[in-house]
């Protein structure tokens, strides 16, 4: 028969059930086949057409960041088997990916591919590399998200689509520009302009606090770029160290004075002040199994715990996180209270307000360093950038679990769970 110990642990098991908090404990366990992150960093995010990266083409941006990753992570480049580039807008992105990897000092044995699911491309790239590692396709890989909105125009939906799409109840909604989907969310769910401006102001204010305190110094890599003075035409070398999106001193009151960006689509509450900015930037994450990291002597800073995707009506694509976050939490057995930090892409304040309110999130946990409204939203970069920021913020707070999520154009939402092991 069982000993005292077994009978006691049986009773203790009844008293400490597998509640979500136990799932949290399970998530924090360290196993040799965990997919871990040993390096995560990004370039500064700068305003498209105006900021420090405006003259840096997408290939130069990727080469610059990959070179930094190779040097600073001290990884032997020959063990990196694949690099996945999350990018939305660049023409010939597959050429750019592979060529940039080679130009950044990786050997010819390092492969490359592209991931594109609009605003979730950066997270999709992480998922691709993590899945390849988990299933034994590769041992070590880099996920990178990069976008140069200065040099690659966003032309929206392609012209000349089949009438089977344009006349379809849902597929036809994909012709709606993103701004219109933001107004749809505000209109359908009665989200007021006041709430949107308040949400946007909080983003600016959080970014300002973070920037003044230097919280992001361990996530941003100083990036050397060539910069052309728009007045003189003189080209100089600049070292960028700061995001230039956050406008200090922004208040809900000051945002309320901005005119509607889309007067043609009621309720016309979206403005340049409460929507994400057009921005350039890149972020990268080095992934491998825990056993491999230990073998290579790589410092483990975090863990990829899983990700998921959902679809919804394209006309309200902004509320994708409202579906994606509960879905990934359910898969991991977590409750909202188990999560320490949420990084949710602020494509528009309308969807930001909706997701925070309807999911009942603690506003202090959501985008503690400001989101895309203040920092900018370089489409393909955002998914990776939010993970870099979340890991840095968990370190600063000495907390463990982050959920990152974003809405995706054409009506989707993606979410992922990451654990800091600082």
């Amino acid at each position: 028969m069982a000993g005292v110990k077994e009978r006691l642990s049986s009773v203790l098991g009844h008293l400490n059930p597998t509640t979500p908090s136990n799932s949290r404990a399970a998530l924090l366990q360290k196993n040799p086949d965990d997919i871990v992150i040993t390096f995560a960093a990004r370039t500064p995010l700068t305003k498209a057409k105006k900021g420090g990266l405006k003259d840096t083409r997408i290939d130069e941006l990727v080469i610059s960041l990959l070179t930094e990753v190779r040097q600073r992570s001290k990884i032997d480049p020959s063990v990196v088997e694949d690099v996945c580039l999350g990018n939305v807008l660049a023409d010939g992105s597959a050429y750019i990916a592979r060529s940039s990897v080679l130009a950044a000092g990786f050997p010819v044995t390092t492969a490359a591919s592209v991931a594109n699911r609009f605003c979730s491309s950066g997270l999709l790239a992480i998922q691709q590399i993590a899945n390849q590692i988990a299933t034994g396709c590769i041992d070590v890989g880099i996920a990178i998200g990069a976008e140069s909105m200065s040099t690659c125009p966003d032309n929206g939906a392609p012209v000349g689509l089949s009438t089977k799409i344009t006349e379809h109840e849902f597929a036809g909604q994909n012709l709606q520009p993103m701004g219109q989907t933001s107004e749809n969310v505000a209109g359908d769910f009665s989200i007021t302009r006041e709430k949107m401006d308040k949400f946007a102001a909080e983003s600016y204010q959080k970014a300002e606090i973070s920037q003044k305190a230097g919280w992001s110094s361990d996530e941003i890599l100083p990036t050397t770029v060539l910069w052309k003075d728009p007045k003189t035409g003189e080209v100089t070398t600049k070292i960028l160290t700061q995001d230039d999106g956050p406008r200090h001193g922004t208040t809900a009151e000051s945002l309320s004075k901005i005119r509607a960006a889309f007067p043609q689509w009621p309720p016309s509450q979206t403005t340049g002040g409460n929507a994400s900015q057009l921005t350039d930037g890149a972020a990268a994450i080095l992934l491998m199994k825990r056993s491999k990291a230990e073998e290579l002597g790589q410092p483990i800073i975090g863990k990829y715990a899983g990700s998921t995707v959902v679809g919804l009506e394209p006309r309200i694509m902004g509320i994708g996180p409202y579906y994606a976050i509960p879905k990934i939490l359910e898969k991991k057995g977590l409750a909202i209270a188990d999560v320490d930090v949420f990084e949710i892409n602020e494509a528009f304040a309308s969807m930001g307000v909706f997701c925070v309110e309807r999911l009942g999130l603690d506003r202090d946990k959501v985008n503690p360093r400001g989101g895309a409204i203040a920092l900018g939203h370089p489409l393909g970069c955002t998914g990776a950038r939010q993970v870099v920021t979340a890991l840095s913020e968990l370190r600063r707070r000495d907390q463990r679990i982050a959920v990152t999520s974003m809405c995706v154009g054409t009506g989707m939402g993606m979410a992922g769970v990451f654990v800091s092991e600082h």
Binding site: M1, R7, K327
Partner: protein, 352 residues
């Protein structure tokens, strides 16, 4: 409220005699059932209080008891050493018969309520065994492959046995089915299964229930397809086995810790009593007499049951509770780790 002290013994199970309204059996164990002896009490309710008519000591803890439905003097006890013992009040010396079939602790025993000629036990070893008092060995083994905290004969059919296990499933066995690889298993119902959601759209905020150990269950005495289950996740659920894939019919939420024992009223079809590690006994209505259709229409949300009363007289984990079958509806007995057996009237705990 009447009280009896099971001095030095922590209660694990209590059962009213099916023959006498004043006779109660209690199963108990020393040292909270972790190590040491067990004891079976036969108690009489008298005008002078509750008096012990008979006690028997066992080598290992007694985790459950069941009265014989045929012989008013006999009962079986589930013990920690893997054996099931048959006691007879007229034989004070010790068990008149025992069966040592299980390899691990036996947690539950149940007597066939219809034919009254067999009984069953379930164990940590992942099996249910069926016995006849006339046979020296078990006559049937039903595997569950999971620690089986509770097994019950259906009160409506002599051939139907059910169980709940630590793998969070309700199993229904029908011994009339031919012997085959399924070992008479006819239903395997996930207790944590998602209740159906209302409406066509997916609600991301709907409640979610991860699997958790099931500790107790009971068949409704009036509605022959309704079974209630409960356990570590603190929720009491009712299921209608005519529609095993539809999820729970009612969810009764309120206990603060695991639910150790539930039992349907012998008098009212919607009423059940629960005992919990949160030191309370609670009485509930499953809502079935409140005008909700049954069985569930597709897409219908589970009915939120209602707590009718709470008894907080115990000062330790409450492990056993049972209704008196006779007399005024509402009398019951409970036993707990506080070494006390309490006899009380459910109606006194209910609000206006």
């Amino acid at each position: 409220m009447m009280e009896f002290r099971t001095q030095g013994m922590n209660g694990y199970a209590v059962k009213y005699s099916p023959f006498f309204d004043s006779k109660i059996a209690v199963g108990a164990a020393a040292n909270f059932g972790l190590v040491g002896n067990g004891r079976v009490y036969v108690l009489n309710l008298t005008p002078r209080g509750i008096l012990a008519q008979q006690t028997w000591d066992t080598q290992d803890a007694v985790y459950d008891i069941a009265w014989s439905e045929k012989n008013e003097n006999q009962m079986i006890a589930a013990t920690g050493d893997g054996s099931v013992k048959l006691f007879d009040v007229s034989v004070p010396a010790g068990p008149v018969q025992q069966w040592h079939e299980h390899n691990r602790e036996v947690y539950a025993v149940t007597w066939n309520l219809q034919t009254k000629d067999t009984f069953a036990s379930s164990s940590w070893d992942g099996t249910i065994r069926v016995y006849s008092p006339e046979r020296p060995q078990a006559i049937l083994t039903l595997p569950t492959h999971s620690c089986t905290y509770s097994t019950q004969y259906s009160p409506h059919s002599p051939a139907v046995i059910s169980s709940v296990t630590s793998d969070s499933h309700l199993r229904i066995f029908d011994l009339r089915t031919p012997a085959s690889a399924s070992n008479h298993l006819v239903h395997l119902i996930p207790i944590h299964g998602q209740p159906p959601t209302q409406g066509p759209s997916y609600n991301p905020l709907r409640p979610r229930h991860p699997p958790s150990e099931a500790l107790t269950h009971d068949w409704n005495k009036y509605r022959d397809t309704v079974v209630a289950t409960a356990g570590v996740d603190q929720i009491i659920r009712t299921f209608d086995i005519r529609n095993p894939r539809s999820g729970p019919v009612a969810l009764l939420e309120g206990h603060k810790y695991a639910v150790r024992r539930i039992t349907w009223s012998p008098h009212l079809s919607d009423t059940l009593l629960s005992a919990s590690y949160d030191m309370t006994c609670r009485v509930w209505s499953d809502g079935s007499t409140m005008g909700h259709p049954t069985p569930q229409a597709p897409g219908q949300l589970p009915v939120p049951g209602r707590q009718l009363g709470e008894m907080g007289g115990h000062t330790e984990f409450v492990t056993g509770v049972d209704w008196c079958l006779f007399g005024a509806e509402g009398w019951c007995a409970s036993t707990a780790w506080d070494e006390r057996l309490l006899v009380w009237d459910v109606r006194a705990t209910m609000g206006p």
